[in-house]
Symmetry: C2
């Protein structure tokens, strides 16, 4: 984010989210978003290629935090512990602002088939990035794919709990616990 415009991106995201919520995603225009945010169209398009991309804001950051966490796990950490480290890294994207906007974001996504698809593709992208990071640690392909999927299920479960909780909870701890519960469920299958 450029130094001379510290809040523009966040203001655009918040304005868009409120408008999507109030009047629907399809009915909201870029003109309305910039108007609500008190910014210009050119500022909008400096940050986002398209209206659709406003909600993808943070996707790259999240993916980077997740994979950096996996990569930085100790050499002797197993695949599941490395995945847990990635989820704790991803907690860096779970700010008070994103928690406050969470329910609104979920409602907007639930109301739009297009946004649901984008949300699903986002998870597929995160799973692929996590699997790549695990393979780079020497984890075999099958285990990497498996652990990445477990990680995504844990992420989803932890996020739902984190957004719905009355008090501020530690996302990393929630995700680590969810991953452990999934491991136990997987072990019980045999």
């Amino acid at each position: 984010m450029p130094r001379w415009e510290p809040d523009a991106r966040e203001r655009l995201v918040v304005a868009a989210l409120h408008l999507f919520n109030e009047q629907g995603y399809d009915e909201t225009t870029v003109a309305q978003i910039v108007d609500r945010a008190g910014l210009t169209r050119s500022t909008f398009f400096r940050h986002f290629p398209d209206k659709r991309d406003v909600l993808a804001a943070g996707q790259e950051t999240l993916s980077r935090l997740l994979t950096d966490g996996i990569t930085a796990a100790p050499d002797d950490a197993g695949p599941l512990d490395a995945m847990a480290a990635g989820l704790r890294g991803a907690a860096g994207a779970m700010t008070p602002a994103s928690r406050e906007l969470g329910p609104r974001l979920q409602a907007v996504i639930a109301a739009s088939a297009e946004l649901q698809q984008r949300d699903q593709l986002k998870r597929v992208g995160l799973a692929a990035a996590a699997a790549d990071a695990l393979r780079a640690r020497g984890v075999d392909r099958r285990t990497a794919d498996l652990v990445a999927e477990l990680g995504m299920l844990a992420f989803k479960e932890a996020y739902a709990t984190w957004v719905a909780a009355d008090d501020e909870q530690d996302f990393g701890a929630l995700a680590t616990r969810a991953l452990e519960q999934l491991r136990v469920a997987a072990a019980a299958l045999g």
Copy 2:
């Protein structure tokens, strides 16, 4: 498929796949597809809403076979055995024609970001359908989601082997074996 037009749908799929492969998905028009298939535009649009939907042909059938297999598994089958039954059911969609067209289809998908996204969404949809069918058997939500993801990984692995094999292999057996290997990999995580 209507009785009076037994092969039209399949001919359209084959023609589209050849054209996508030869000249690219984006460059191919519905007019070219119907021309190659020796059919009319109105026949095309009776079968498919859109060019994009030609490659989704069989998606509903596949989903139905998968979930029917899960549902029809014996009452005392555990979640993983029910998933295996679903994958063996899905083998009903793996015809000699779909095996012959498989490598071409994979090449077409690999060459288009849009088709890759549709393929990913297809898997997400299958996973959701499988998880629903497992929950309907009384499987708890976490285990249902977990086993559905294992099922999708097994499906993907089995499909890649099935398409690449020199001889005609039993898709259901391949998928059941892949699922068992994933179970072993999951059990080894703890």
